[in-house]
Symmetry: C2
Amino acid sequence: MEANGTTWVVLGLLALRRMSGYEMKQVVDHSTRFFWAASYGQLYPELRRLEGLGLVAGESEPRGARPRRVFSLTEEGRHALHTWLRGSRVRMETRDESLLRLFFADALPHEEALDLVRARADHFRGALAQLEGIASEADDPPFVGLTLRYGLDYCRWEIDWCTAQERQLREDR
Amino acid sequence: MEANGTTWVVLGLLALRRMSGYEMKQVVDHSTRFFWAASYGQLYPELRRLEGLGLVAGESEPRGARPRRVFSLTEEGRHALHTWLRGSRVRMETRDESLLRLFFADALPHEEALDLVRARADHFRGALAQLEGIASEADDPPFVGLTLRYGLDYCRWEIDWCTAQERQLREDR
DNA sequence: TGTTACATGTAATAAGTTACATGATTGA
DNA sequence: TCAATCATGTAACTTATTACATGTAACA
């Protein structure tokens, strides 16, 4: 079977509970988006494709006159998800414009270069606040909770790291 | 001027020293690729484009009968780079398949889910070894050194975090 | 009555990777 | 002589974002 990241987002979410494409987008935007985003332009076509393959099943459940399709995982879909979950290849790609700037920051006057480190810390202070807003609902399944904790801990680490490095760079020069 | 990430990679590298497209790819693969990758398919067309815009200047410097073009930064190019460097918007995108698996790992038996945390730690042990291989050449400019240190510290943090969480998850259950 | 949220979808575009083609040089 | 490295480039493909079109429902 052909698969891409969106495949696993869809199957994974449907393993939590049945939902519509619209709801998937909302859940993603409050959870996985920090390490795996998904747009309508990926979600809806992928739902169709997976339905065609028999990995998900869609049912029409209109709300009043507003059409709505709710999807659930088939046995085949659950099987495909489990196979992927057991895979151990760790693929990571990052595009971090702030680190790229830092890498080239020697071209800048020292004080302005330090601003970049401060800006990075500020960014993560903002991200931390956002994550704290999402808040650990105590009834999250354990591994959902784990990834939320990851986000919080990672932001705190970034803030500490930037702060320490800024101090260091200031002392060195 | 129209710009994308590759624009800044090219201009930034040429601010360090003049080099060919081939050399850029090598440098990227040993440095920025951890937070900003670039392929030949991006580098070569972008060099042409920036040459057309007058931000970089290419000179033919064949080695024997092997053709070779070496690029350098023009004043305009340097100006464009500095303008971007002073920008403070922090754009970050991550695609982390390992965290995505972790997020959905409640669908797995507990022991297999723990394997995912271990696999993640192992991945970062490998990445750390790789980075230690690149090694801090003491003559790196300060901010180049900073990003290398970032890579090392980040890997160590990941390893510690995964190890701690695995222990925690084991105790909880 | 107007704004926001619900709901589905696509077309255009941008961004990025992979694999290939071509050929010279170096060193075992 | 063979493999690896140097060197430039592109075509095909995959992936992802953005912006739009369409219309219902809830609520202030």
